[in-house]
């Protein structure tokens, strides 16, 4: 079913919307949750919660990219769940990504306002060449393992790692330049 039609179903408060969302985007959202949580049960719950959140958000929302809209919800839900269950040592890509990004900001002083940080991240991402941006976001938005990114792009793992290293260094420099304490 086309995205526009799915959105219409949400707006009409038609519960088929959830079924159609699951059919079209269940695997997509599942992949995101699984990369973060590394647990089939948690993943399944996260994906179900995604449709519920979407149900509450539409209306009034009318997403321009439905996949990303769902993906964002799943990502947030999965990260929340991960943070709550930290003691269970869930594994997966999330803690690795967290450590990698930790190099960019340090913990010496709080980096301040989240809203401002969001704008800075958008600006940084726009400055990155398209390909590097894609790799950066496949890693830190989707939490894909390096091997999978390499496979998807037909590149070597080494070059993906190098690209990520360079992007993180650039992010660190960028944040420093913008006055975010590192």
């Amino acid at each position: 079913m086309e995205d526009g039609r799915i959105i219409e179903l949400y707006w009409q408060r038609n519960e088929t919307a959830i079924e159609e969302s699951g059919r079209k985007y269940g695997a997509y959202c599942g992949a995101i949750a699984r990369n973060i949580l590394h647990s089939p049960e948690d993943t399944e719950e996260c994906v179900s919660d995604t449709w519920l959140r979407a149900w509450n958000a539409m209306p009034p929302e009318r997403p321009s990219r439905l996949a990303v809209f769902f993906g964002k919800i799943t990502r947030n839900l999965a990260i929340d769940r991960y943070r709550k269950n930290k003691t269970r040592q869930l594994g997966g890509q999330y803690p690795v990504c967290l450590d990698e990004l930790g190099e960019c900001v340090g913990e010496a002083a709080p980096i301040g306002d989240g809203l401002e940080l969001r704008e800075l991240i958008n600006a940084f991402l726009r400055e990155l060449p398209e390909k590097n941006r894609e790799i950066f976001l496949l890693r830190y938005w989707y939490f894909l393992p390096v091997e999978e990114i390499a496979e998807r792009l037909g590149a070597s793992q080494g070059s993906v790692k190098m690209t990520l290293l360079r992007a993180r260094n650039k992010l660190k420099d960028f944040l420093e330049k913008e006055g975010v304490s590192v």
């Binding site: 997509y28 321009s64 990219r65 990260i79 967290l98 930790g102 894609e134 792009l153 190098m162 290293l165």
Partner: protein, 493 residues
């Protein structure tokens, strides 16, 4: 919440349009990322500036005795000081490494060395914007049909060196134009500007070179010459300006510093036999586009030059990128790998580059290196002519109109820090030659990679950016300093 968690949340909150699609796995072969990253276009540019100081009363030309020795090395020319540049590791090309573990330490070494150079005291660029604003219009203006290229950085260095060898009002006028309080501040800042912009790592190049050519029959203040050499990374030579060998050595030095790009201009340079000092300043810059143009997409089309339409090659691309605009212009930026960016500024219909250069808003745009107030991230369909433009600018009138007058006047000039041997020294020649050229760098298969990873989610609006009439360009260094600005009236003139 920890900083790294805030960061991961902020990334999750990125604009929807930036998030790549996660569809079925692509299967591609032989298109390694490393290959694409190095496959960027070339941009090369350079400049020389020279000033000759002439003694009004003729100086003391020595006896010419400059026959070549048996090995062909000119005699009578004494290299007094050779500039020693900072050590900078070569940029490690990803394609030369198969193992990331081997690459990382080499890359980090390169990065740390680069960062050390860029890490200069706060405020070291102070005054440069004012200098740029004051001089850009002076040296680029005119309704003529010629192309014009001006390097503020090269003139800045040449003037800073001139301030070192002058005193009194002669020095004050130079300091005023450079917006510096005193010579010590200028010296420290010029040194920082030099270091922060230095780049010569095999991939990107930005080298400012200066040299002093002394007359061997004139006694010089050793300390002044040493200060200039040390702080401005200058090479110093001594010889007889009447000898053809001395001029030839100067030309060789200029060609070497500019990789031969200014050979046409350099061949015409000859020292004045009576000169007390010749001062040369060059900027040699080259870089590769971070995202190259596809050579197969380049098409010939009409460029509406002031003298009538001419057929020129236009490089074409469609990219999601920042698009800036002002009251009477639109502009885009093309980034060069580790070496700053080039801005292309298209005047609105009915406005010429000369009109734009009179507007404060445009000068603001040329000097600011951050985000412009009118900016939109959008799909830009660009059509950019390949160009090779050069110009020769006599700086004397312009400098005098900008308040630097005494060094041109033998009655008023004060070159006492340089020499007590002769008075009435004045600046007899000051010219700047510059050339900038851009192309796609001959790499194939670029369009494939340019658009392939675009993902979905194009912005609603799209813009065309067609540089098919006279326009302005600017090359800004990695540290945000304008290296070159120019007016293109005909891309291949």
């Amino acid at each position: 919440m920890k900083n790294k968690e805030m960061l991961i949340d902020a990334i999750g909150d990125a604009d929807d349009a930036l998030i790549p699609a996660l569809t079925e796995k692509k299967k591609k072969k032989n298109k390694s990322i490393a290959k694409r990253i190095v496959a960027v276009a070339a941009c090369a540019a350079l400049l020389i500036g020279g000033g000759v100081l002439l003694p009004r009363l003729g100086g003391k030309p020595g006896v010419t005795q400059n026959g070549n020795d048996p090995t062909g090395v000119p005699q009578g020319i004494l290299p007094i000081a050779a500039a020693v540049y900072p050590e900078l590791p070569q940029y490690p090309e990803e394609r030369n490494y198969s193992d990331w573990e081997d690459y990382e330490p080499v890359y980090n070494k390169w990065r740390d060395a680069t960062q050390r150079l860029r890490n200069q005291p706060k405020g070291y660029q102070n005054g440069f914007d004012a200098f740029f604003t004051a001089t850009a219009e002076t040296f680029l203006r005119g309704e003529g049909t010629e192309n014009r290229v001006y390097s503020p950085l090269s003139l800045y260095m040449a003037l800073a060196l001139s301030a070192e060898v002058t005193d009194g009002n002669s020095r004050r006028q130079i300091l005023d134009l450079l917006s510096q309080e005193d010579i010590e501040t200028l010296r420290a800042r010029a040194r920082s500007v030099w270091l922060a912009n230095y780049m010569d790592d095999g991939m990107a190049k930005c080298v400012l070179a200066t040299s002093l050519w002394l007359n061997d029959s004139v006694g010089y203040n050793k300390k002044t010459v040493e200060t200039a050499a040390e702080n401005y990374y200058s090479s110093v030579f001594s010889g007889d300006p009447a000898s053809s060998e001395y001029s030839e050595t100067l030309r060789s030095w200029l060609n070497e510093q500019t990789d031969g790009l200014l050979e046409d201009y350099v061949s015409g340079i000859k020292m004045d036999p009576l000169s007390v000092l010749t001062l040369a300043s060059t900027v040699n810059y080259s870089g590769r586009w971070r995202e190259k143009f596809d050579q197969t997409a380049t098409e010939e089309a009409a460029f509406h030059a002031p003298g009538g339409d001419v057929r020129r090659d236009f490089m074409k691309a469609e990219r999601l990128m920042g698009y800036d605009w002002g009251d009477h212009f639109a502009a885009i930026e093309l980034t060069l790998e580790n070496n700053g960016r080039m801005r292309l500024i298209l005047p609105d219909e009915g406005y010429s580059p000369a009109d734009l250069l009179k507007e404060d808003q445009v000068l603001d745009y040329l000097t600011q290196s951050g985000s412009w107030k009118n900016n939109k991230y959008t799909l830009v369909r660009m059509s950019v002519p390949k160009f090779d433009v050069s110009s020769q600018t006599d700086l004397r009138d312009g400098l005098q109109s900008l308040g630097v007058t005494d060094i041109f006047d033998p009655e008023k000039s004060d070159f006492s820090p340089l020499t007590d041997d002769t008075d009435g020294i004045f600046l007899g020649k000051a010219e700047q030659d510059a050339r900038v050229l851009i192309d796609e760098d001959g790499c194939k298969a670029a369009a494939m990679t340019v658009m392939m990873y675009c993902g979905a989610g194009m912005p609603e609006d799209e813009v065309d950016f067609i540089l098919d009439r006279p326009f302005l360009f600017e090359i800004m260094s990695e540290t945000g300093l304008p290296l070159f600005v120019g007016v293109v009236n005909d891309p291949a003139a």
